[in-house]
Symmetry: C2
Subunit: 153 residues, 2 copies
DNA sequence: CTATTCCCTACGGAATTTCTAGGAAAAACA
DNA sequence: TGTTTTTCCTAGAAATTCCGTAGGGAATAG
């Protein structure tokens, strides 16, 4: 399960991804649009800033925008920054590998083999989906829904 | 990430799956073999018992065994019992669905669509893998490793 | 009737998660 | 210059969850 923090991060990023990239949005604006706790969101955006996902400017006229094009930011990157490993067990994580304390022979562990496949499946989806792709999908679905409802009239 | 509890459960079940199914194993035996905290494992097996995954007998000659054939127990079942939802977000869970508090329009949520695919990928792996399958895979790998090392001599 | 083994409840400590408070630093503007 | 706006930063409060352990009850075998 993703943390709230991670979910909020993704929500905020989707808002920014839909915006013109040189238009800065205020934390309070994003928080209001998405119904998120403002102070918490502030901390989240700060962390995303430190990790090069968003950029910011202070003072009047300041705010946040994506630090790079929306098709270069994947869900996988964001989840890893916020929550750490994608893998269901640390011992099958690629980026956050850690040995199991009680495991005697890692290579012989059947659970590990299964979870490795799960990790790959997760990583495949999350690393294969950029913010831009998610936005595009959303638009496509909205369009077909609109077409279906107008056809029904 | 799976909890320790869930991992321990899977470890214990793999031990039982490799055993003759009418041979009961003691909690302490399983704990020792797998290096698990005994009291905690006791609680875990109890829970698996209540959920029909293992069966038990008390007193001298007692212990635990699988409650059904190892090919009818999937990783998905076990994880759901121990940790709840497989899904990365409750709002895309099939068995533990829960609405997001702050979400305005679930159908329009792009994050949800992405996470739905992730959930399906996870469920596909975990529900598609039984204890029996994991045991078989383990044997197959061990065999090819043994063949490779003997060929190298 | 004694030893063994699982069953059950309760709880304690640690870690994590989810926020919030309060103010410093930068930037814009008057 | 100084006032306002906005992000940056640290600290920590409150709640929850996680990881076990203690201690004894109930069934079973011999």
């Amino acid at each position: 399960m993703l943390s709230q923090k991670c979910k909020y991060a993704l929500q905020a990023l989707m808002v920014l991804a839909k915006e013109n990239s040189d238009n800065l949005l205020l934390v309070s604006e994003i928080a209001e649009r998405e119904n998120l706790p403002k102070k918490f969101l502030e901390a989240i955006l700060l962390e995303l800033n430190r990790n090069g996902i968003v950029r910011s400017r202070r003072g009047r006229g300041g705010g946040y925008a994506l630090a790079k094009p929306a098709d270069l930011i994947t869900f996988g990157q964001v989840v890893r920054i916020m929550d750490g490993a994608l893998a269901p067990l640390a011992c099958v994580s690629v980026n956050y590998y850690r040995r199991c304390d009680e495991c005697k022979d890692e290579q012989a562990c059947e659970i590990r083999r299964v979870m490795r496949r799960v990790r790959d499946a997760i990583a495949n989806e999350l690393d294969g989906t950029s913010l831009a792709k998610a936005v595009a999908e959303g638009k496509a679905v909205a369009a077909t829904l609109a077409a279906a409802s107008s056809a029904a009239e």
